[in-house]
Symmetry: C2
DNA sequence: CGAATTAGTAACAAAAAGCCACTAATGTCA
DNA sequence: TGACATTAGTGGCTTTTTGTTACTAATTCG
C-alpha cells in the first residue's frame, strides 16, 4: 500500500562534523561574564567561545572539561548541556552541529591563558552567529535553573558571606531581593552552615562566612505555580 | 612552558554519525506513555524510539517533526530538546551521538502506523541502552518544566475540563493536588478561558469546557525559593 | 424520589513573604 | 575621642498566598 515504510529508520546515518562550544560563566565586576579566547589570525571575528571537536570515545562533558581546562588551568566543577545547535548559523570551525555546554566558575578564578578575557554578557564583542546563539541560550538556562539547582553556589568560592550569595542571586535574576526575606528563606532551606570565620571588608560590620552544606530534603509538596511560565 | 597550546581550537573536526531520537509522550490510560515503533527484523530489541539521521540542511526540530509525523500521521505541536547523548551506550543505528527530542501530543491522538504502540513509562519493553537513557531524560525534563512552560496544555485537546487539566498535572508531578487550590491558582494566572460548552461524562454534574488562552503576564516578582532544588 | 457521583466555591486557618525599623560592629574623620 | 557613615544581622508586624474543610449544584442510577 505505502510506497515507502511509514517508519523511516533505515536510512544510512550521514557523517557530520561536531563541535563542543563551552560557555564559561563567572561573576566579574558586578555582572555575569563569559570567558572568550582570541581567534586565530584570519578568522572573521577576533574572539570565539572555547570550542573543539570531541575526541574518539570522549563524552561531551569530558570534552567540555578538557576545553575549559585548557583556558582556565583547571576544570570547572559544574557543567550542563544547554542544547544542540544545527541551524545554518555560521560556526568558527564550520561544524555542522554544535553542542552548547555551560560551565560555572567562582568569582575570582583567573584564566591561565593570556589569549583569553572575560566579557560581560551585555558587552560582548562580535561573535560568530552560532556562538552568539549558544551564549544567549546558556545565559537563559542559567537564569531559569537558578532556583531548581544550587547554581549560585558554583559561582562563589567555598566560603562566602550571605551578602555575596544574595548578590549572585540578584545577578542571575536581574532584580533586587529583600535582605530579610532572602535570609529567612535560606535559613528554612538548610543549604548553608556558618563557619567560625568573619570577613571585614573595609568599613562596616564584619560579615560571617558560610559554606554550602545542604543537610535536609524537605518534601516541598507545593501546589502548582502557574505564574512561573517564561514562554 | 607548556608543550602544546593552551587553547586547542585548531584540531580538525572529526566526522561523526548523528541521530535524532524522538520521545513522543501522551497520556494513555491514566499514565504517561511513550510511542515506540517495531524494530526491523534482526535487531537486538523488538522496539525502538522513532529515530533517523537529520537530512542535509534540516534543522534538528525539523527532523524530529518529520520522524514523528511518519509514525503519527501528523506532526506534534510541541518539541523540545532534552540533550545530546554520546556515551558508549548502544544505539540501534550505532550513531555516535543522539540528539534527544521530546514531543507532546494530546490524549486521544492515534498513531497512523500499525507497527507502533503506546507504552506506559513504567512498563517499557526492552530498549537499546541509549534509548532507555533518552526516555528517562525526556520524562525528567517534562516533569521539571511543567510549571515553567504550558506543557500540560499540549497533552490535552483544544478544549478540556478543569478536572482533565488537573489530572494531567497530577500525572506529570506524580502526586495528588487539591482541587480548590489548583483552581484558585489557575484563576489567578489568566491562562484559560471558559467556553460555553459543557461536557456530561456519564454520572455526576456536567463540567464546563475551557480553552488555553493566556492573557496577561504578571510580573511574578517573587522571592527566591530554595526549596525547589531537585538535585 | 432518594442515594450516589462529579463539579464548583465560600470561608476560615495556617504558612509564607514583604516590609520596616531596629540593634550591632566596624572604619572614618573632624 | 566621639559623632557619623557604613555594612551586617534580626524582630516583629502586615499582607498575601496556600492548605483544608465543608458546603452547594447538577446530573445519573435504580
Amino acid at each position: 500500500m505505502r510506497e515507502r515504510p511509514a517508519v523511516p529508520m533505515k536510512s544510512a546515518v550521514r557523517r557530520t562534523t561536531l563541535a563542543v562550544d563551552v560557555v564559561v560563566l563567572s561573576p566579574r565586576a558586578e555582572a555575569l561574564a563569559v570567558l572568550l579566547v582570541r581567534a586565530p589570525a584570519g578568522a572573521r571575528e577576533r574572539w570565539t567561545l572555547p570550542w573543539d571537536a570531541p575526541q574518539a570515545d570522549e563524552g561531551l562533558e569530558d570534552a567540555a572539561a578538557r576545553i575549559a581546562e585548557a583556558v582556565l588551568g583547571e576544570a570547572p566543577a559544574f557543567f550542563e548541556q544547554v542544547g544542540a545547535f544545527s541551524d545554518a548559523k555560521r560556526h568558527p570551525g564550520d561544524a555542522d552541529v554544535s553542542i552548547g555546554i555551560v560551565a560555572l566558575v567562582p568569582a575570582g578564578v583567573e584564566a591561565s591563558s593570556p589569549d583569553s578575557g572575560w566579557f560581560p554578557l551585555d558587552g560582548l564583542p562580535p561573535l560568530a552567529p552560532r556562538h552568539r546563539a549558544v551564549v544567549e541560550r546558556a545565559a537563559a538556562v542559567a537564569r531559569q535553573r537558578v532556583d531548581q539547582s544550587p547554581l549560585a553556589f558554583r559561582l562563589l568560592p567555598p566560603t562566602f558571606t550571605l551578602t555575596d550569595l544574595q548578590s549572585v542571586y540578584e545577578l542571575l535574576l536581574g532584580r533586587r531581593l529583600h535582605k530579610a526575606s532572602f535570609r529567612r528563606a535560606l535559613q528554612a532551606s538548610y543549604l548553608v552552615e556558618p563557619t567560625d570565620e568573619w570577613r571585614s571588608e573595609g568599613r562596616g560590620r564584619p560579615a560571617q562566612l558560610f559554606r554550602f552544606a545542604p543537610r535536609k530534603r524537605r518534601g516541598a509538596r507545593r501546589g502548582v505555580r502557574f505564574d512561573l511560565f517564561t514562554e
